[in-house]
Each structure stands twice: as structure tokens, then as C-alpha cells.
């Protein structure tokens, strides 16, 4: 499949494509649609681009741990990816990836790559009980019915979600006590999820403070994503929850399961929240 022909690449692969430019440096073209409002690109999307660069320069096939510092808001357009390889062995390899736009570095990522297998699960925490996707809420299709003003960011056209009604009462004007959101997600064009797509899924929901009725932007400061397994085809279940919101800071934990109930990714981010 040619790398630079958008007609044969999936939407996600086109948006996260990395190629060698002049002099052998890696370059990307950040797509404007993967934004969370005001043209600001989703942090998980940027991490997927960085992950693709890390894998390109690694003897291993998959990103397994990616830790990103978000230095400046990312905007669409040409971007450079500088990959500095670290120690590499039979099981895993380390590298640093810096994604930059014309004004300078946007994200710095510590990347660990490995090749995920299907080895035995020795211990696992079960997936929560959630209604099937068909019984969950399609916010993008029904935003006009919401009790609160809903701005749908561009990202929702590229990643579809179906929100668990138990964590959607805020959209009906009844905020919850708990900052928890759960949704089935999948790529809008049907491309099956893979480890690079999981890096986006691990930051794809609105801020969990939405569930408590606080609907402001919560910029990510640092984000760590762990990819635990290759996902089966179909919807993934994403659950995001905050452990503590204090003094203008919030953490958010994500767990992502595939359609078989296997844990395929986890993430934790530190974000800034608007003071009340």
C-alpha cells in the first residue's frame, strides 16, 4: 500500500502518516480534523503520529509504553519527527521522539517499543458491565437533543463513540457526583484498531469533569499510555475516570478493552483544569 496516496490509506493512516522527507528526516502532515476545539489537535492523535515514527526506527513492531510531555498546543500542518534511538535488545527498545512544527517542539515522547504476542493472561481486572453499543448514546448524531450546549469537536467525525447512558446524565442536564465517562469507540471509517490507534483512544473522550457538569477545556500536561495487547476487531470500550481534582490539577486514568473483554491499553494523564 503506497504511503503517500490518500485514496488507499484509511482515514487514520492518512492522518498519522510518517514519511522520509529531504535528507532522510521523518515528516508528517498533521490533519486539522483531529481537533478537540479551536483547532487544537488531540493529544492522543499526536501520540499516534509519534508512535508511528518510533516503530519505524525500531526493530520491534509496536509501541508498548509512550510517555509524552505536551509543550505547546499542536496545530495542523507540516511537522517534523526527530527520533533518537536508545538501547535496543531482543525484547524491547527505547527511543525519544520529538514532534515539532514550524515554531518548534510540540511534544516530547519517551517511547518503548516491543512486539506484542498473545501470551497467557495471568491476572486481570474484568471489564465493567456496559450496554451494547446499539443501546448507548451517539452524541454526534444527537447533539441537538442534549439539554446542555454541545460543541462537537472535529475528532468526533474521525473516531465514533457511543456513550454509556450511566455516564451521560450530564448531557441531559443532570450532572453526576463522579468524574467518570465510559464509551464504546471505533474509527469512523471502520479501520480495525491496532496499537497505534489505541494511542489515540487513550485520550479520546471529553474531560471527565464533563460528567460532573464542568464543561471546560482541560489541557494535557503529561500523558503515559501503555499498550497491553493487540485488539480484536470491533468496538473498544473506553473508561476514563479522575482520581483527584484539586488546586487546578486533575489526573485522568483510561482503561481500554477490546470486544472480547481483553484489556488492550491503559493511560494516565495530568491535566490543568479551569478553577471554579
Amino acid at each position: 500500500m503506497p504511503q503517500n496516496d490518500d485514496r488507499v490509506l484509511s482515514d487514520f493512516d492518512a492522518a498519522t502518516a510518517v514519511r522520509r522527507g529531504e535528507g532522510g528526516a521523518l515528516v508528517a502532515d498533521l490533519h486539522p480534523g483531529w481537533e478537540v476545539g479551536g483547532g487544537i489537535l488531540n493529544g492522543g492523535y499526536l501520540l499516534s503520529v509519534a508512535g508511528r515514527a518510533a516503530v519505524l526506527e525500531s526493530p520491534h513492531a509496536h509501541p508498548v509504553a509512550m510517555s509524552a510531555s505536551y509543550l505547546r498546543a499542536g496545530a495542523a500542518g507540516p511537522a517534523g519527527l526527530a527520533v533518537t534511538p536508545g538501547p535496543a535488545g531482543r525484547t524491547l527498545a527505547h527511543s525519544t521522539v520529538v514532534l515539532s512544527d514550524s515554531k518548534g517542539p510540540v511534544v516530547t515522547v519517551q517511547a518503548t517499543t516491543a512486539t506484542l504476542g498473545d501470551g497467557e493472561v495471568e491476572y486481570s481486572t474484568p471489564m465493567p458491565q456496559v450496554p451494547a453499543p446499539e443501546q448507548c448514546l451517539d452524541m454526534a448524531a444527537n447533539a441537538h437533543l442534549a439539554a446542555v450546549p454541545m460543541h462537537l469537536p472535529g475528532l468526533t467525525a474521525h473516531v465514533q463513540s457511543r456513550l454509556d447512558p450511566a455516564t451521560a446524565t450530564w448531557a441531559m442536564g443532570q450532572p453526576s457526583e463522579e468524574p467518570v465517562l465510559r464509551a464504546w469507540v471505533r474509527l469512523a471509517d471502520g479501520r480495525p484498531a491496532d496499537p497505534l490507534a489505541l494511542l489515540t483512544f487513550a485520550d479520546v473522550l471529553p474531560p471527565t469533569s464533563f460528567a460532573t457538569g464542568r464543561m471546560g477545556w482541560a489541557p494535557t500536561v503529561q500523558l503515559q499510555v501503555l499498550v497491553r495487547a493487540l485488539p480484536a476487531p470491533g468496538w473498544c470500550l473506553v473508561e476514563a475516570r479522575a482520581t483527584e481534582i484539586a488546586d487546578g490539577w486533575s489526573d485522568e486514568d483510561y482503561r481500554v478493552w477490546d470486544s472480547t473483554g481483553r484489556l488492550v491499553a491503559q493511560s494516565r494523564q495530568l491535566a490543568r483544569t479551569a478553577r471554579r
Copy 2:
């Protein structure tokens, strides 16, 4: 307090001291006692040293997010710390810290610093119910009574712990189903905890697989620590748990509370486990 006079520094401050060497480069002297077995230095200890370097070169007072890639096992002796500043603003600053020994880089850290205040806690998850430290198990004092062979790493002489009996049955020969460990911890010489010490506490317990009877080394691949508040004096409660152990990989989540029940730190690491 003079930086390089061990007679007036606390044990932790001496072990994590960072000073300017020749040419202005930052140097440290990694102390052998902060090891987890076989002379291998604890990952949290290395992160405390890197955190001190990050704060030295920052306009802000505290490490709030530290994401480390562990490139090689760290051994005692002279170390260099290269801090590359990133964007800095009124609220926070980013930097990269590389800790190296004579053979090359040991740990690469994405550091975010800020100045923690005592702002309002808007939402929090309560601390678990645990017996007082006096009712918990001092493994270091009682290793000879354990039902399983106990090697006490050097670290236990510098950080004291009192294990919650509910998560210590494995030491009596009765492994649990759940990979969870809980313990009160404090610095052995009584120095109060602070954000730099919390970086050590967030990796200070044995691997959680010990609780299920599997007592092998689980080297850390990547570790992210979030410091959420300045701790009150006294014991801190540390709870570590694994979410999924599969295919030679384990995650471990730590939550650290101070003696008032305030969440002061969180961490998540990806580690390699010995296959069964």
C-alpha cells in the same frame, strides 16, 4: 545547609544530593544502600535524584509529573545529570533530564515542575481503611519469622515500612489471589517526606506479584509519577496494585496518601515479569 557536608544532611538528602561539578555540569554520587538486590539501585531513588536536578534548573519549586525510561540498571557511584530546559511559564515548566554513569545514560526523564499550593480539593477518592502503623508488620525487624526466604534489600534500611497484615499473608506462606501490597512508609532517619521523597515512595514496595507468591525481580521499563500535594509530616500510606499481568509484562499502580488522608502522589509503571 551546606550541600556537600554529609554530617548535616539527612540520609535522603545526602543520597540524592546534586551539585555543580567542573564546568557547571550537574553531578551526583549515587549511594549503594538504595538498592533492591544485587546492587541494582531503586528506580524511585534514581527518579528523586533526577527530580532534584530538574527543580534546580526550574523557576518552580516541585516536581509534579516525572516520566522515566529505565535504559540500563543503575549502579552506585558518580553520575552526571544533563538537564535540557523546555518551555517555562507562570504555572509550570518542562525539561528533559538524562542521568548517566560512566558507561552512558541510565535513565531519561520528562520532567514537569510547578509550585504546589494548598488549594481546594474538589474531588477525591478516599484512602483505604488500614490499621495504624503500630499494628502493621515490620518486615525488616521480623524477616527471620517469615515462612518464606526473605532477602531484605538495602533500601529497607533507608525507607522503613510497615506492611498491612491484609496484604502480608504471602510472607506467612499463604499467597493471595490479588497482586496488592499496602504499607505505611517513612524515611528511616525521620526526615519528613516532601515531593522529592515521594518520587522514591512511588516505587518503594516489592513487586506486587510477591503478594501472589511469585517473588522474582520485576525490572521497571517506564515509570510515571504525579505529585499531587505537599505531604503532612509522619507516615505515608502506599498502596500498590497490578491491573494486568500477561505475557511477561505487568503494570503497577501506586497511590500514596499522607497521614491526614490526603492523596499526595500517584504512579504507574510498566515492568517485565519472569514468565512462570
